[in-house]
Amino acid sequence: MTDRTRLLLVDDDAAITTPLASFLERSGYAVRVAGDGREGLAAVREEKPDLVVSDVLMPHMDGREFVRRLRESDPWLPVILLTQVGESFERSAALDEGADDYLNKPFDPQELLSRVRAVLRRASRGVPTSQRIRAGDLVLDRTSRRAWLGARELTFTPKALTLLEFLMTHPQEAHSRERLLAGLWGFDFATSSRAVDHRIAELRRVLGDDPADPRFIDTAQGLGYRFIAPVVAA
């Protein structure tokens, strides 16, 4: 037995799993590899990992089916999905189906490493996954897509609301503009990061949040944005 954090890597492409496992091992994790969803479920039954990194497109049982089955027996085991399809709706679908985070292929392995760390931190902190969440007097109902500040209901554009939901469900983490764009907008042209700034400006305006002295959204200098208020189930 090892006391290192255990990762299960599920992907059918050995050209990826071999070097990726070696990279993650070198970064201090104990890594086990499974070739598809079925093998992945068997591996989890055999020895429960601390976190699962799974591809989406695999033979026999794909990543989505794998996450669904995994959630039946273990609702809290953190999962990062490696999505293949570039469309944003595919990626938010990955989150809807119970994955804790996702990364679009081809990705920077260093980025995977920081996601692994962030998801493990989030899991240990117990960030609420409930449909109604609260940060101070800001309440967000994720099902009805409505938000209130105190008694006042807030009006956002759909993109701003999606961004707020993402930030509130990933609090205290700095998110680069590129990551937010790729995840929430579905177009991640290298030069388009101002689209995020527009929506952050809208969120701040509606929330009355002063960028110089923020209550909710802080600018992480040279990187992007961070939701700083503690988030709890409402």
Partner: protein, 300 residues
């Protein structure tokens, strides 16, 4: 006169001549008198029928030609749509098929150690390749993806875009002069996809900064013939005349731009975004003198 009235003339003429002969004729000549007018009437009817037949033939031939022309135009439009769709599907497949090999290359480079300069080169080139294919695919998707329309104040958009450029490149920012026509009335807001429009504007401003090391960059906003017009003009290196017809093509780069990094997708993106808004983009350039790009977005 309508051509169909022509057909009635011989019939009427035959009837009139026949009628007159009957009325004026002697009784003993009755048989002959009836036969001759009848002959004129019959000739008139036959001539009318002949004219009607000629007109019918001409009309059906014209309809056939019109039908063939419109079928040809429809087929050409359908072929263009299906060609773009094939192009889009090909890029989606290419992007998809490259994902796993590129992930494997980047994982291998990471496992070998980021400090190794050779592996770091492999990694950066793999990333570049991935970005290029991804951008090509997304560009093709832009042609059909739904627009997220909202009211956009172009002056605000312009000021923000210039501010963002000045933050990235202070020396370019200091060379920008803005001229917004507000009299007798300001340029009305347009219904547009804010993200896409600012992407297009960023690209054009970025190009002006990239391809002119010195000299002013003039940005103008005005209303003209039912459109809002944004012009970005620089006094930079310009584009060689031979390259001008291809500036909006995917991956096209001017012969004198090899020393400046770029994907050759920026102006294609600008053109696609403007076209999706029912607008247009035009570029004029003289090598060694500068370039002016005019983007038009229809009002209302």
């Amino acid at each position: 006169m309508r051509p169909w009235l022509l057909a009635a003339i011989p019939l009427a003429l035959g009837a009139v001549i026949g009628g007159v002969l009957v009325l004026l004729g002697e009784r003993r000549m009755l048989q002959i008198a009836v036969a001759i007018p009848l002959a004129f009437v019959v000739i008139g009817v036959l001539a009318s029928l002949a004219i009607v037949a000629v007109l019918l033939v001409r009309r059906s031939r014209a309809a056939r030609i019109r039908g063939r022309e419109s079928a040809r135009a429809e087929a050409a439009a359908a072929a263009l749509v299906s060609e773009r769709e094939r192009h889009r599907r090909f890029l989606a497949r290419l992007d998809h098929e490259l994902k796993n090999p590129l992930t494997a290359i980047r994982a291998t480079a990471a496992a070998a150690g980021a400090q190794d300069p050779q592996w770091s080169l492999v990694d950066s080139q793999a990333r570049r390749l991935g970005d290029l294919v991804r951008d090509l695919r997304k560009l093709a998707e832009l042609e059909t993806r739904p627009l997220d329309l909202e009211e956009v104040d172009l002056e605000v958009l312009l000021v923000e875009a210039i501010h963002a450029l000045a933050e990235r490149d202070p020396s370019a920012g200091s060379r920008i002069r803005v001229d917004v026509i507000r009299v007798p009335w300001p340029v009305p807001s347009v219904s547009a996809d804010l993200d896409l429009l600012s992407l297009a504007l960023d690209n054009v401003l970025g190009n002006a900064a990239k391809y002119s090391d010195e000299g002013p960059i003039e940005v103008r906003l005005r209303e003209e013939s039912g459109s809002a017009v944004i012009e970005v003009a620089d006094s930079g290196r310009g584009i060689p005349a031979a390259d001008l017809p291809h500036v909006f093509d995917e991956l096209a780069r001017a012969a004198n731009a090899r020393d400046v990094s770029g994907s050759g997708l920026g102006l294609t993106l600008v053109q696609t975004v403007l076209a999706r808004h029912g607008g247009s983009v035009a570029l004029r350039s003289v090598e060694g003198a500068g370039t002016v790009v005019a983007m038009r977005v229809p009002l209302g």
